[in-house]
Amino acid sequence: MAGRARVKARGLCRSQEPSPLDPPLAASGNHPTMRENEASVSTNLLETVKEGISAGDWNACTLTQRGGKTWNNFLELGIHTREKLAHVKDCKTGSSGAPVKLVTNLFNVGLPRGWQLFQYHVTFNPELASKRLRIALLYNHNKFLKKAKVFDGAMLFLSEKLEEKVTKLSSETQKGTYVAITVTLISELPSSSPVCIQFFNIIFKKILRKLSMYQIGRNFYSPSDPVEIPQHKLSLWPGFAISVAQFENKLMFTANVTHKVLRNETVLDFMSGLYNRKDKSHFLETCEKELLGCIILTRYNNRTYRIDDIDWTVKPTDTFQKRDGTKITYSDYYKQQYDITLTDLNQPMLVSRLKNKQIDSGEVRIAHLVPELCFLTGLSKKVTSDFRLMKDLATETHLNPTRRQQRLSRLADNIQRNTEARFELETWGLQFGCQMSLTGRVVPSEKLLMQDTTCQPMSAADWSRDMRNCKLLEARPLNDWIIVCSHRNEDAAQCLLSCLRRVSSPMGFHMEKPKIIKVQENTAAFIRAIQQHVNPDTQLVMCVLPSNQKDCYDSIKKFLSLDRPIPSQCVLARTLNRHGMMMSIATKIAMQVVCKLGGELWAVEIPLKSLMVVGIDVSKQTCTKGYSAVGFVASSNSRITRWFSRCILQNTKTDIADCLKVCMKGALNKWYRYNHCFPTRIIVYRDGVGDGMLQTIVDYEVPQLLSSLRDPNSNYSPKVSVIVVRKTCIPRFFTEMNRTLQNPPLGTVIDSEATRPEWYDFYLISQSTHQGTVTPTYYNVIYDDNGLKPDHMQRLTYKLCHLYYNWPGLIKIPAPCQYAHKLTFLVGQSIHREPRMELADSLFYL
């Protein structure tokens, strides 16, 4: 969350008016008009003009957006993968399962028949650098006065066609300069064209602004009815993430409830909080450690800055030079400019490096900011690790379907009632329609295959009870293992051991007595003990950690994944102090240990024989900057219960396709060793796809994967499918049960209406939530020569969501993806290097 919050905060920064940023500059006036650099826009447009009238080809133009990102990335328009898949060209919907009525967060947007948008290119002679001035000059013309129009300084959109293809106008600036304006028609766009979609998004943003909502990044918030969490100094602004997109056959407006978390804490509050701690010796260091890199919001002008440094030598009583050359103290400046009296004249100054608008000029501009006037934004890592805070936050942010629906209807109501909003819609001929409902299907539930029984769980969300008296599929005996614990936690370790022995025999898991080693409470002592006591036959090292200090955990994992590859299990001493729950904790640990030793817990029925499933995840959260961890996990038996894994750290700049080849080779060899043949079908689930990355995957990754499988020297050529998995998506689905809206049942598949026409895609709800509304997982089959029917593809995906051994229940993504995620997390957070291949056969990363 910290990362996302930060990104959001940056979005806020970009969406601000580009005007002088630092106090010295702001002092001599805001006249951003004459200085804006719009070079990027004009170059873009020159190309467009050369191409002449286009039919609205996506690449022909991109509107520049507030917020910097183009919609191309966000909506991934113009990628057509379905047309190449012959078996789903006509129909991509399945038919099995019980139908279920669903309500969505999608709203129809109606357009008159034959609606068109007229796109004009506008040039000014002499050229005007200021976008503001260009807009002002054009809008002053009577021709455009009462017309529906959108103009970004270069591109003009009208709902009605001008009489002439080229219209010549002239204007005079306030300074008396004559400017010739040429308005040239470049295309007439049908409503389904990508430019139009982008255009509709702009219109709806405008409408939400009319509803006095406040735009931060891409989302809109209502600051006037905030939710306060004073015990954590947080304010929540309720809001919406909105977009307009072309769904199966209709244009739809989608709205998702979001919240903006703001902190009611200034940097000065935060600093004095740190200072008032008992231990003052490391105050400066802690301060810098906690604050550098944070995004702050200035109270007086609502801009955001990043803290790059703290200058302890400068005080508010020191002077700086304003842009007009005069000198003034910081405190006088704030008094004069903003009528703010600083209360603490001894506070240090925050230093922020400003982004240079002119990229070529190498000078670094710096702003000094007063901590008292800066609010912290976003949630720091420390905050997100505060369990109670996150719980309090969740109760406010995770809305159940009923409350979510209330907010949605209120928004729809506002859009329809607000006169200004309605006017905006009407001038363009748009109609805001009703909420879409559709029919999904609930696929049949799965039976679990255990050692000598099959079991039909009561609830697919959690089958730990159902499994209680069943033997695990395969558990290797644990003969040689050690437990390392501190002197203080010896009792806890003993207690855990006795519980483990009690729960393991019904599972069919044989466990010998371990060697218990007691050490001092420090990381070095733990490592030394492990070093001394492991031998080549040691199967497992279990550590009872005195606290959840990350470095201790990291060092143990590092040592046991890199230096001495042995599966390890860490348990927090605190967890073992919860007496009432010891048995269930021990059960979980026992199962985890079985997995780490290479055992299998349960299986589901997989009708396809000789099928290998692969999960890929990419995590950028590694400690080394510029590197990302690519996790690759492939099944190595046809029951899909054993997994081969590779994790490769690589430069973010290089394509991940290269390492996929290596991983794939390894997985195939492993499969061959266990099965004495190669798999005939391979299905790859690709997770960790960011916004706008789809094109790269279609163009580079898929061909690379295929080339590693299609060796021209052998006649081995498996059938391959590649499916992009997305945990976040726009639509939400609710079902009405007992007169209230609820989350749809587990196993609900939606493959019509809310899907996109150009893709072979579907939504699957495979996880239950205790709180809030379930986010469906979105699957997009971008390559498929397996030729499975959509029904089978959906069911296979659902089955794979049952196979994550760290949780006795369904999870939101297919198990191989979750394993890959776990692997990259461990490598990225703790090990920072590629783990030893000796461990590749076990789920050591659980």
């Binding site: 006036g29 306030q174 306060e228």
Partner: protein, 438 residues
């Protein structure tokens, strides 16, 4: 009439000669002077200037003839900035509640004014609707305004209309500013203006600024006026006689001052900008006009309402935030002292502990009851909380404090203290934990 144009001058001053010449040079192509002379037939025989032709060659009046201006005059800070500062200083001194800016154009003065706590109503009026819609963003609220709301309410409204229309929306103001406005008025409008401004709007104070024509020869430009849209520019006598007459007619007293000192040797020309400050002789006892009976002619371009502590929801929020942060601070001190105690006497069970604060000798809180601890519950007396200056300031009295925080905290049974648990609750629910190393 839009003072948008005044920003032209504001900009040129610090930016140096080339810009100014550019601006003035370009405007030469426009023949506004004809309109101007039409506008002010009676006021000034300005032929004397035009006869001299090229202004750059002009030597200033006889007594300052030695000062030949080769370099253009620059002001630091810029003149427009100085004018704004002048108004702001005035506001700081007189603390008006309702302020209007006529010809507000790019809304920059309004933007500066909105930071002043004394102001509760701000209005801007301009004839150019476009410039208002483009600049209203400057006045919008931001996240900071919600996180740390103003003490007093503030409503900013922008009106589109002419300054010579008698619109009731500008009635009852404490201060109306007309910064570099009147020189943009046509003769007819100028004639009506005093009646509308002083007679109808009748604010307590008025600030009017306009260029001083006598200063113009010191500029190296070649045009008659400083800006092509100026219909006239007055010397000191002209302005002062106009202003004095208006003041006399409508019961105001007027003082004159100015901004932008002339260079040494040319002191006789006076300030670059001349300013008249008008004060009403008798304050309005009752409204002169019944607002409802007069027809509105101005259209509202936009209204921005700022959150303020006068609204209960924001006050509640501000108080509970402050209360929580003080309680948490005390709790931390308590826990630290407990921990130190624990470490020293090897963990006795705590039954009743009165924490010792490391308070300085002259602690303002000494008089108030101290927080205390019974078993695992920490009690902070409301009186103690109320002794914090910020909380006192926000609430006013103890009862208000109690009322405001009642929903956010748990009060002790007698309602005199806030109760808070010092031992963290069970901090992890196993079912939430998706496996992991436990």
């Amino acid at each position: 009439m839009g003072r948008s144009s005044s920003s032209g001058e504001g900009r040129q001053a610090p930016r140096g000669v080339s810009t100014l010449i550019g601006i003035l040079g370009l405007s030469k192509s426009r023949t506004r002077s004809a309109a101007t002379s039409r506008a002010l037939p009676s006021l000034q025989p300005r032929e004397s200037w035009s006869r001299r032709g090229n202004l750059s060659d002009v030597m200033v009046d006889s007594d300052v003839q030695r000062v030949q201006v080769k370099e253009n005059i620059k002001f630091t800070p810029s003149l427009s900035e100085q004018r704004h500062k002048f108004v702001l200083d005035f506001v700081r001194k007189h603390k008006p509640q309702k302020v209007a800016d006529l010809g507000c154009a790019n809304c920059k003065l309004l933007w500066r004014l909105k930071y002043h706590e004394s102001i509760e109503v701000l209005a801007g009026l301009d004839i150019d609707e476009n410039i208002l819609t483009r600049n209203i963003y400057r006045l919008h609220t931001g996240a900071g305004d919600y996180l740390d709301p103003r003490e007093r309410p503030l409503t900013i409204t922008l009106y589109h209309g002419s300054v010579v229309e008698k619109d009731p929306c500008l009635l009852g103001f404490d201060l109306i500013t007309c910064i570099e406005l009147i020189e943009h008025l046509e003769a007819k409008e100028l004639a009506q203006f005093p009646e509308v401004l002083f007679g109808f709007f009748s604010p307590t104070t008025v600030i009017i600024s306009t260029p001083n024509f006598e200063f113009n020869p010191l500029f190296s430009g070649k045009t008659l006026f400083r800006h092509p849209d100026h219909k006239f520019e007055w010397d000191r006598t002209q302005f002062q006689s106009w202003a004095s007459e208006a003041a006399r007619n409508y019961g105001y007293s007027v003082e004159f001052t100015g901004l932008g000192e002339p260079p040494p040797g040319a002191e006789a020309v006076g300030f670059c900008t001349q300013i008249g400050i008008f004060m009403k002789n008798k304050p309005n006892i009752q409204p002169l006009h019944n607002e409802k009976t007069i027809e509105c002619t101005h259209t509202t371009v936009g209204t921005v309402i700022y959150p303020s502590l006068k609204e209960e929801k924001y006050l509640r929020k501000a108080v509970s935030n402050e209360v929580f942060s003080q309680i948490l601070k005390m709790k931390r001190v308590l826990l630290e002292s407990l921990k130190m105690k624990n470490d020293s006497d090897s963990g006795d069970e705590l039954e009743f502990v009165k924490p010792k604060y490391n308070e300085s000798k002259n602690d303002p809180f000494e008089e108030t009851p101290k927080p205390f601890c019974i078993e695992n519950v920490f009690y902070v007396p409301l009186e103690r909380l109320f002794s914090f200056p910020k909380i006192k300031h926000l609430c006013g009295d103890l009862e208000t404090l109690k009322m405001l925080i009642a929903d956010e905290v748990t009060l002790s049974s007698d309602g005199s203290s806030v109760m808070i648990n010092i031992v963290d609750e069970e901090d992890c629910d196993l079912s939430d934990n998706d496996g992991d190393d436990l």
